[in-house]
């Protein structure tokens, strides 16, 4: 049964240096507040897992939290490069970043295998390109037809972190809109944290919703606006301007560091983070 606890406490208790951590979200409901808390608490040597690492992973990488990245597409959607990710891969700054690179289909199959407690996932993929020589993929033969397919090792993160719209007071969590690979992330992980926009008395069933019973989660932490600059369907829109602005902020090491110091290290939670951004915008 999930306990409803402050985010700082959830991260302190459940995420340790050296853990493999997946903060998932497919454009929607990206757990930024949880990522910021990892940075504030100075986690190190993390293996970061995500299909589509974007700004929050750029921040974690740039702040030296990550030792390895397992991913399938690492960019700033609609904008371009992730400069901190590139700087780590191209120049080893602030530290070298080991890569385990997959395709989306491979990552999705690996998460699904993890959720299903299987050691590998099977797919028609990874054929013909250069990626197989650079990643963990194997050939598996169908015992009935003799056909050869690709096998990927299951993703089994130490900690899975997702952001959702709502939890009830028992820690049951509901997310809706684009739900991506979040259910699989929670079920594949040894420990799981959900941050939520709000805690409500009762979860109203919604079309297309994913419900995560409280008993598959270790902690539920309120984090209103905790997906910003990503969005929460029904709560707030994507801050497209922020993604564009991030390109310039992240391009320069010093500017990146002072931005992180001011808005993340210099704040204690998502409310203060938003106030800090608002203050900067008002001064501009």
């Amino acid at each position: 049964m999930a306990e409803i606890v402050p985010l700082g406490e959830a991260i302190a208790r459940l995420v340790h240096d050296g853990d493999a951590v997946a903060l998932e979200g497919f454009t929607h409901l990206i757990p930024h507040a949880a990522g910021h808390e990892l940075i504030r608490q100075g986690r190190r040597d993390l293996t970061l897992i995500r299909m589509t690492p974007d700004v929050v992973y750029d921040q974690l990488i740039g702040m030296g939290c990550a030792e390895k990245l397992v991913f399938s597409w690492g960019g700033n959607p609609g904008v371009g490069s992730l400069h901190r990710f590139r700087d780590a891969v191209e120049n080893g700054w602030p530290a070298p970043l080991e890569l385990e690179e997959h395709s989306h289909a491979g990552m999705a199959a690996a998460y699904a295998a993890g959720a299903a407690n299987l050691p590998f996932g099977v797919l028609r993929g990874y054929r013909g390109g250069d990626l197989p020589a650079r990643t963990r993929v194997a050939t598996i033969t169908c015992p009935f037809t003799g056909e050869e397919l690709a096998a990927v090792p299951a993703q089994r993160p130490d900690v899975g972190i997702v952001h959702a719209q709502q939890a009830d007071r028992h820690g049951n969590v509901q997310l809706w809109g684009i739900t991506g690979v979040q259910k699989e992330t929670v079920l594949a992980s040894t420990r799981a944290i959900a941050t939520v926009e709000e805690v409500v008395d009762e979860l109203e069933p919604r079309p297309g919703a994913v419900v995560l019973p409280g008993w598959v989660l270790d902690a539920v932490s309120p984090a209103p606006f905790g997906a910003h600059p990503s969005y929460a369907h029904g709560y707030y829109e994507r801050d497209n301007d922020f993604y564009v602005a991030w390109d310039a902020i992240s391009r320069d090491r010093d500017r990146f560091q002072s931005w992180m110091e001011r808005h993340v290290l210099g704040t204690g939670d998502v409310t203060q983070y938003r106030a800090s951004l608002a203050q900067e915008a008002a001064a501009a």
Partner: protein, 240 residues
């Protein structure tokens, strides 16, 4: 760049849209593919089915999405499915008629690189990576590539093969149209006002030119009106 008041992006979007038939199921990314598929949906192919990687099946956005995960895609979709289901049942399940792909580099066989420039272990430029491309290239019936023509992009040898070209049916560039002929991408059409020397000069291998080289019909006023109506609703820059 604009010829006769029509931008290169507009010509590319129109050429791609024309290749979609009514009812075609398209796997689209953000940017030109999304524009092209929505143009088709608003002109000759109202039943064209748009599927985005985020799991939105049959999305009918009134405005062009800025990301593949825009809320409007979910709100207007016939169904929103989990991402593992999208790749397993819908892409690998061979439900996609057409997948649009872009890349940093293409070779004469339609193989694409969206991974690195330089050596994988010590890249000069680390690109975002392949994402959904490798399996789209294998499992979609037809792959349409949209890519601006340049020596940097159309290369003799890829720095890295992210996806294979076996299902590439057409490459739509800002200069013309390439299609596979005898296993090699061949220039089969030029956009209005483009000289044959331009794509040849912008290709890093000796580009074959079809004997029956034709000119693409210019975008019609009707196409441009719809296209520009679409574009003004979104933002100017919507790369992915």
């Amino acid at each position: 760049m604009s010829r006769n008041g029509v931008t290169a992006d507009e010509v590319m979007a129109v050429e791609a849209a024309r290749r979609l038939r009514d009812g075609t199921v398209c796997f689209v990314g953000i940017g030109l593919p999304s524009i092209a598929a929505n143009l088709a949906r608003h002109t000759h192919a109202p039943e064209c089915v748009l599927i985005y990687e985020s799991g939105t099946i049959g999305a009918k956005p009134a405005e062009l999405p800025l990301s593949i995960g825009d809320g409007e895609l979910a709100e207007t979709a016939d169904a929103v499915v989990p991402v593992p289901e999208l790749f397993a049942y819908w892409l690998q399940g061979r439900r996609m008629d057409v997948a649009f792909l872009g890349a940093a580099q293409i070779d004469r066989h339609g193989n694409l690189n969206s991974t690195v420039i330089g050596d994988y272990g010590a890249p000069r430029v680390r690109l975002p990576g392949a994402g959904g491309a490798p399996e789209s290239a294998l499992s979609a019936r037809d792959v349409f590539v949209m890519l601006r023509h340049s020596q940097r992009a159309f290369v003799e040898r890829l720095d890295f093969t992210s996806s294979v070209g076996e299902n590439v049916r057409v490459v739509i560039t800002d200069l013309g149209i390439l299609e596979p002929r005898d296993g090699e991408l061949t220039l089969v059409a030029l956009h209005p006002g483009v000289a044959v020397e331009e794509p040849i000069a912008a290709t890093g291998w000796p580009l074959k030119v079809a004997d029956d080289l034709r000119e693409t019909p210019p975008p019609t006023d009707a196409e441009l009106t719809v296209l520009r109506g679409l574009r003004t609703k979104g933002q100017d820059d919507s790369r992915h």
